[in-house]
Symmetry: C2
Subunit: 233 residues, 2 copies
Amino acid sequence: MATSRPYSSHSTAPSAPELPPQSYDHHHQPPPQQHQSYYGQYPTPSPPPSSSSSYGPSGGGFPAGTSPDVIRAFQMVDRDRSGFIDEYELQQALSSGYQRFNLRTIRLLMFLFKNPYDSLRIGPMEFAALWSCLGHWRAVFERFDRDRSGKIDLMELRDALYSLGYAIPPSVLQLLISKYDNGLNFDSFVECGMIVKGLTEKFKEKDPGYTGSATLSYDSFMSLVIPFLVSYD
Amino acid sequence: MATSRPYSSHSTAPSAPELPPQSYDHHHQPPPQQHQSYYGQYPTPSPPPSSSSSYGPSGGGFPAGTSPDVIRAFQMVDRDRSGFIDEYELQQALSSGYQRFNLRTIRLLMFLFKNPYDSLRIGPMEFAALWSCLGHWRAVFERFDRDRSGKIDLMELRDALYSLGYAIPPSVLQLLISKYDNGLNFDSFVECGMIVKGLTEKFKEKDPGYTGSATLSYDSFMSLVIPFLVSYD
């Protein structure tokens, strides 16, 4: 065994190998270094080419190389040309490339991809990062929806999250999936995955040494968790 | 200063004194022992008198002394006389004494008052405890809704939760209340308060010495938090 650390922190590649079927309980065993990650990372958009301007000619604020479809999707809903879109506009903008997401999922996406200056709106940089992340997740979803049912089940969810870099304990998976009576479609998968991703990120911030444990004050615990409890009227 | 502990753990009495206005930032200061509690406790129903049977003559499973109204509310919805009610039946049962709660609030109540044998239904004991808890919270809500608007604001929420035994940091309060665009009516207050109560309880289990901090493994953190993320389709 190469390491005694409970998990590695670098495996977030979409090409991470699938779990072998017998390793469902792998989190109880010392994990192989290359195959295990409790902690994922926020996907980062590709850095702009260093030799050119960071911004495309027509896409103010977008990273260079952003697909015109993405820029168009954003600009179509940013009617006042403020350069920022709110949650309803985001819902509409994503419809053109993906689907009409549940407003609950949209709010979670807004929270996780928010810009540092305005928590209620996102700009071109955040939109491009979000679009790219969803594209990646869509591919993962389709890859693991092996029976092409448009939904994934518990085992497929496990494998899909693992492929995204999150090795979720069976008990936690069970909790997650129990919230979706009708199975996980792509919308629910995104919501569910973003909850895992967001909570893992936040927890990881409190565990800089990747020990697998974190000491939290009551205040920081509450402040960490409550933003995820999306409970709008 | 009598103690250097960051908070005491016993002050959950509804008669806890209100915070003086100047102590809004009291959590940053060493708190007075008798006036401060970050941690609340689940309200426990009054123990049955030791000299009598624990069960009323007509209310199978209810604690002795349970009001006939409560027994009736339960039995009216427990049509199959199974002795257990599900979330929809709970919603209906509570309507007779309180109001028709949001299903999200109902699910949170089910989760927090669940019986150990069946997480999807509650029995007479749990129902009686829940009813009594809501009665207490209703009184607190009315006490702090000083302008009788039927809604409470940030400062009223702070005082109400404090009166219930929870001293919530201003930043957390702000997060909580930001989820309710239209202010907190009693339904939202119960949802919001039950989130605080539930998370505090769970955190406290990880901090048996009441130090104000807890060390959590990633798995236990995820398992603790995810049940609160009510995300039903």
